[in-house]
Symmetry: C2
Subunit: 155 residues, 2 copies
DNA sequence: ACAATCAATAAGCAGATGCATACGGTAAGC
DNA sequence: GCTTACCGTATGCATCTGCTTATTGATTGT
């Protein structure tokens, strides 16, 4: 009686973290060369994605939204601004803060990068799910991801 | 007309990586205190989980299975061996390699940790999915995770 | 006006990670 | 026997991450 039939049944499923962790790493590895082709770092792409069309009022809010340290995204923002991809000007109503938003060029680049990334994800990953699982998987994943956003405290 | 109704529709869904990455991080953060309570690091737990009951013949194979550098798991293996949680002896048929396996104590500790971890995952994450999405999500996730395992080259 | 507060920025530190090199012990081919 | 290749191990390096402290300019409350 080693195990596996009638024991204490230690494992019905693998740990979520044990599945999602490596999966995330693999997705990042797929994504990296695509982003490089567009001249973007992972953080830069996270900034462009978050700054979608809704401008943020402070850099600290942006940093928190992408789960980064606020002192670490400054160089990324400098670069994006120098390249004309983001707007970043002092808020006239509170000149301590910097209003952040995408420029038209930033939006174009973001859309192009996102299109390439999602095409890769579709082909390399989602295409290997049965048709009747794909939508449910994406819906459930979106639910859990919303719960994981660093800007809320688990209700 | 800001966005969202009739534009070029740049985003039907969020990037998989953008959802799975932060979700993995959140899961790790939940897991860390549980592992600490059992006296295990993340790598140590990965070792115990992988060494389940199927012994491996080389440390390099173990390192690859958990996606770690083979030179970096040595300290972890030393510690686990000192604590009597794993078996690690030279293969009599090829004394370069070390046969790796769990001891009974290692198996007990692994089961206890896994039980606590999965209970936390059930309560904090899976319980917030609709009943009819949960199983499908887990099945699809397992499919993708199997595809992400570092020991295979995408077929 | 003055003190306390806040945002952005700069700088530093401990730890982890990926990557590369080097060395001793072991095995296998010739 | 000798060369070559492989495993475990030790070590170093460049980078990234989370975290902390300090400075400067701007705002707010009293």
């Amino acid at each position: 009686m080693t195990d596996g039939s009638a024991g204490h049944r230690p494992t019905e499923r693998a740990d979520l973290a044990a599945m999602i962790g490596p999966l995330g790493k693999a997705l990042m590895n797929d994504e990296l060369p695509i982003l490089q082709r567009h001249g973007l770092s992972m953080w830069a792409y996270a900034v462009l994605s978050t700054l979608d069309r809704t401008p943020l009022r402070t850099q600290a809010a942006l940093a928190q939204a992408i789960g980064a340290d606020k002192t670490r995204i400054i160089a990324t923002l400098d670069d994006l601004q120098d390249r004309g991809l983001i707007q970043r000007e002092p808020d006239p109503e509170d000149r301590r803060a910097r209003l952040l938003g995408l420029t038209a060029a930033g939006e174009r680049l973001r859309d192009a990068a996102k299109r390439d990334i999602q095409r890769g994800e579709d082909e390399n990953w989602l295409a290997h799910l049965p048709d009747d699982e794909r939508d449910t998987f994406l819906r459930a994943l979106a639910t859990l991801a919303a719960r994981a956003r660093p800007d809320r405290d688990e209700p």
